[in-house]
């Protein structure tokens, strides 16, 4: 019997597909997310919009808070560690969270290197703005990628931008002349086998969610139509006027993303979405590349 294998880690990510992973800060919020149909919850001290407002250094959540959420819900529980902060990740693995997010939403702990994720039995999800970032994270052992947006802004633009970049780069790679692959792998700073795998599959070799700035059912539908395997919603739910309605509506929109009549129905009378901001001072997406 083997635990923490690559198959088991990537398999966990596969089970999340088509789902919505919601940021929560308490057991009550987690229960609400579960009741709304969230596939998993992500525990933080503050949602990204509040991290922006609070300023200062953002760190891993209090283990007691994470444990309270784990006790309250039956769906998977994830938590964030700072980029490169392997000790925070060790703590999260020790508590028993189902997945660690090495996240740009928190402050950066190591400017030179990310966590060596192969050294862990817990699976990791990491953010990426382009194919190079994604493949470097996968090469470090990430079992799942989420295309970065600009967290806590309620502005979907950056998530769209990065998903389109990723799609374009993969399409170019698939068409690329074989003799150029070695150079491309060198440029992306990853083994050639990984680049060949992307060419063969025509997509990333792990599950890829969209994240950052998703605030409405239509946002979720758009990113799913652009090829995301599912969505993370951070501030978009608990910073809206009626979180419960938004949570349910975004779950349904993610699921029926290609049905405009469904998106129309679930978008009716939702109340105010999160307020959002167009040009934030702090660009979290630039952390960790």
């Amino acid at each position: 019997m083997q635990t923490g294998t690559d198959t088991v880690k990537k398999g966990f990510a596969s089970m999340q597909k088509g789902g919505v992973i919601m940021d929560v800060t308490s057991a009550e919020q987690a229960k609400m997310a579960e009741a709304a149909g969230a596939i998993a919850v992500m525990v933080l001290e503050r949602v990204p919009a509040d991290i922006r407002a609070a300023g200062g250094i953002a760190r891993m959540a209090d283990p007691a808070r994470i444990k309270a959420v784990m006790a309250a819900v039956t769906i998977p529980v994830m938590a964030k560690a700072r980029i490169g902060h392997f000790a925070e990740a060790q703590v999260l693995q020790n508590i028993g969270v189902d997945m660690v997010d090495e996240s740009e939403v928190l402050s950066v702990a190591d400017e030179e290197r990310h966590i060596d994720k192969r050294a862990f039995t817990v699976p990791f999800v990491c953010g990426a703005r382009n194919l190079g970032e994604a493949l470097r994270r996968i090469n470090e052992g990430a079992a799942m990628i989420r295309t970065k947006g600009e967290p806590g802004t309620g502005d979907v633009c950056q998530a769209v931008r990065h998903l389109r970049i990723m799609n374009r780069e993969i399409a170019e790679l698939v068409k690329m002349y074989p003799t150029l692959i070695a150079k491309k792998a060198e440029e992306l700073r990853v083994p050639i086998e990984l680049v060949e795998k992307v060419r063969e599959l025509g997509r990333l070799p792990v599950v890829n969610f969209a994240a950052g700035g998703i605030a409405t059912p239509s946002d979720a539908s758009m990113l799913m139509q652009l090829g995301a395997d599912g969505v993370f919603v951070g501030s978009g739910i608990f910073k809206s006027n009626i979180p419960e309605s938004y949570a349910k509506a975004i779950v349904e929109a993610t699921n029926q993303f290609d049905q405009p009549d469904v998106i129309a129905r679930v978008s009716e009378n939702l109340g105010e979405p999160m307020k959002g901001m167009e040009r934030p001072d702090v660009r979290m997406q630039e952390r960790g590349n």
Binding site: M1, G4, T7, V8, G11, F12, M15, G18
Partner: protein, 201 residues
């Protein structure tokens, strides 16, 4: 033959590709579809309920009014799909208030093997009275936050156990596994399901 993979949430593409490979091995002609609507299910000859989160999938089955259509078809359920096939759940299932299809006389224990930390791979040996081709070599079992079957009644046949726990069973035209054959190259359980479906055609 038309096999519908219930595509509301979870590991759908993995099942599509495993089912296609199984069809090819058996020399069966047919389609494998990503099913989301009532008509997708009604038009199929058999349905696969993939792994994912049973709470989420069961909510979406209700929301989309698919339950009735699912009551009439041969079904193969993996992991979350096995939970949905059961007549009875455990305290966790009760806590989340999910509705089960109740197609098999089994009681399931959700997350019987623990959280992701406890997720594992292990070789499985099928029971002596299981079909011979399932027994000819061990099956690579992939268990992810896996459930198990606590008890069975009626004419349920137990297909496999692991450390005394029931991890696969069949009843009539339904098959349930706690593990994920779709995450491996071994298509034997899929083939067994397709054979069941083919018998009805």
């Amino acid at each position: 033959m038309n096999i519908a993979i219930l595509g509301l949430q979870g590991a759908v593409t993995e099942h599509i590709s495993a089912t296609r490979r199984a069809m090819e091995k058996l020399g069966l002609k047919g389609d494998v579809t990503w099913a989301k609507s009532r008509s997708d299910i009604k038009e199929s000859d058999g349905v696969i309920l993939p792994g994912g989160e049973s709470t989420t999938i069961s909510r979406l089955i209700e929301k989309n009014g698919l339950k009735e259509a699912l009551m009439e078809k041969p079904i193969f359920g993996t992991c979350a799909g096995m939970i949905l096939l059961a007549k009875q759940g455990d305290d966790q299932v009760a806590q989340t208030g999910q509705t089960l299809l109740g197609r098999m006389d089994i009681q399931v224990n959700r997350n019987a093997f623990g959280r992701q930390r406890e997720s594992f791979q292990s070789d499985i040996t099928f029971e002596p009275d299981a079909p011979a081709f399932l027994r000819e070599k061990p099956f690579a079992g992939v268990f992810i936050r896996a459930p198990c079957i606590e008890t069975t009644w009626g004419d349920v046949r137990i297909l496999a156990r692991l450390d005394g726990r029931i991890i696969a069973a069949e009843q009539g035209n339904c098959i349930a596994t706690a593990f994920h054959p779709e995450l491996t190259d071994d298509t034997r359980v899929h083939e067994y399901f397709l054979q069941k479906v083919a018998k009805r055609l």
